[in-house]
Structures are given as structure tokens and as C-alpha cells.
């Protein structure tokens, strides 16, 4: 099974779960499965058109899915899918 790592700021929406195991075959399917399990996550990850929010990044291993096949990026048995919030600031 592939593993989704939930970032710390979103764990309040996953009953404090750090990880989520999935048999989904693509990133898009895996995220939908996660949202079905924890519906409060939806607004944090998807916009009103159900597209991934631009300030949330998704990595399979060390690769940004934008450089792969986006939502259709395949997930293998032992893949790790990380949900990563964009972090910035300054003066």
C-alpha cells in the first residue's frame, strides 16, 4: 500500500492521524480516498472547482507531481505521497 503523509497543520482535520494508507493507483484517487475518510480536509486541499489548491504541493517521493503526470501520477505499492503546504513570508 502507498502511504500519504499528512502535514502537521492539517492533522486537526484527520483526527491527529499522521499517515493514511491507500491502495489507490493514482495521486488523484488517493487524495479523493483521503477526503472521503476525512471530509473536513476537502476545503484545505481542493478549491471550489475541485482542483488542487495552488499553495498546496504534492510530492511522490522527492518529485513534485507537477513535473510528473499531475493528478494522474501513478502510485506504487511502497510510494510515499507527501502533502506539502507552501511556506513563505518576510517584510
Amino acid at each position: 500500500m502507498a502511504t500519504i503523509i499528512i502535514p502537521t497543520p492539517l492533522r486537526k482535520f484527520t483526527q491527529s492521524q499522521f499517515t493514511f494508507e491507500t491502495t489507490a493507483k493514482t495521486v488523484g484517487e488517493a487524495i479523493n480516498e483521503l477526503i472521503n475518510c476525512y471530509p473536513e480536509l476537502k476545503n484545505q486541499i481542493l478549491d471550489e472547482q475541485n482542483n488542487f489548491r495552488p499553495f498546496i504541493n504534492f510530492f511522490v517521493g522527492d518529485s513534485d507531481i507537477r513535473t510528473l503526470n499531475k493528478e494522474q501520477t501513478p502510485l506504487g505499492e511502497n510510494d510515499v505521497l507527501s502533502i506539502i503546504p507552501a511556506i513563505a513570508g518576510g517584510l
Binding site: I5, T8, G89, G90
Partner: protein
């Protein structure tokens, strides 16, 4: 009021980074534990300021460094509780840019450094209800 206490190793590390990186903004993560409204910070991790804008006024953290911080927390049975950055030659007050980029849950430590000399530090958390705004945490630093 929520309180956040930095242990000496964590605070000394952050301050050293803020001074070393001056006049650029320093940035990184900090880790520890929390009980109700109290957080205690025991470790910090400096990361590269990946901003492609003026690093004297902006910081950003790349995704690989964020993954590294989350893995560090999992492997060391600690919690990623926040992000620090410096304001070189400016007060330790959050900017609109800081507010627009803030995430819920995290504490945001701002370290003000003037000409490589520590000036002031403050810590903030995003209000999770109502208008988007910060509230200040009571910051306890080692004496």
C-alpha cells in the same frame, strides 16, 4: 494567553542563524511538545532561504526541506510546531506578507536583528476563526 517557551539550545541556535544570515532573512523550523495552551520548543532546524525575490525582505522554504522537517519530527517522536524567520533591520512585527502566507496551527517566531545585533523577538499564531489575523503568543526565552 497561549505561551511558548524556547529552551536554550533551540533559542541559541535560532539566534545564531539569524545573526549569521544577516542581512538576509534566516528561516527554519522548530520542534517540541505542547500541553493545552503551552508549547515548549526543544530543537530547531535551519533551512535554506529559497526565495527568488530579495532575500533581505523575503523568505520561502522549498518542499524538500519541508518534507525533511516532517520526517525529522516523525523519526524523533517530536512535533513540528512552527517556523522561524528574521526581520533584518526591521521590528519583529508580522507583515501582511507573513499573514497572507500563514498556516493554521503553526507558531511563527520573528527575530528582529539590527546590524547583526539581536533586537527583539515575538511569536504569533493564526486565528482559526473570523477574519484572517494573528494573535500574539506569550514568548518565554532563556534568560
Amino acid at each position: 494567553m497561549k505561551t511558548i517557551t524556547f529552551t536554550s539550545p533551540a533559542w541559541d541556535y535560532i539566534l545564531m542563524q539569524a545573526i549569521k544570515d544577516f542581512p538576509h532573512e534566516t528561516c527554519g523550523f522548530f520542534f517540541g511538545f505542547e500541553e493545552e495552551d503551552r508549547r515548549c520548543i526543544t530543537q530547531a532546524m535551519a533551512v535554506k532561504n529559497a526565495s527568488i525575490e530579495n532575500k533581505e525582505r523575503r523568505f520561502s522554504i522549498n518542499s524538500q526541506d519541508y518534507i525533511r522537517a516532517e520526517k525529522f519530527a516523525l523519526q524523533n517522536h517530536t512535533t513540528l510546531l512552527g517556523i522561524y524567520h528574521s526581520h533584518p533591520n526591521h521590528p519583529a512585527h508580522p507583515s501582511l506578507h507573513d499573514l497572507n502566507n500563514a498556516l493554521p496551527f503553526f507558531s511563527y517566531l520573528i527575530v528582529s536583528v539590527y546590524d547583526k545585533i539581536f533586537h527583539q523577538a515575538t511569536c504569533w499564531r493564526l486565528n482559526e476563526e473570523g477574519e484572517r489575523s494573528f494573535h500574539e503568543e506569550e514568548l518565554i526565552l532563556p534568560s
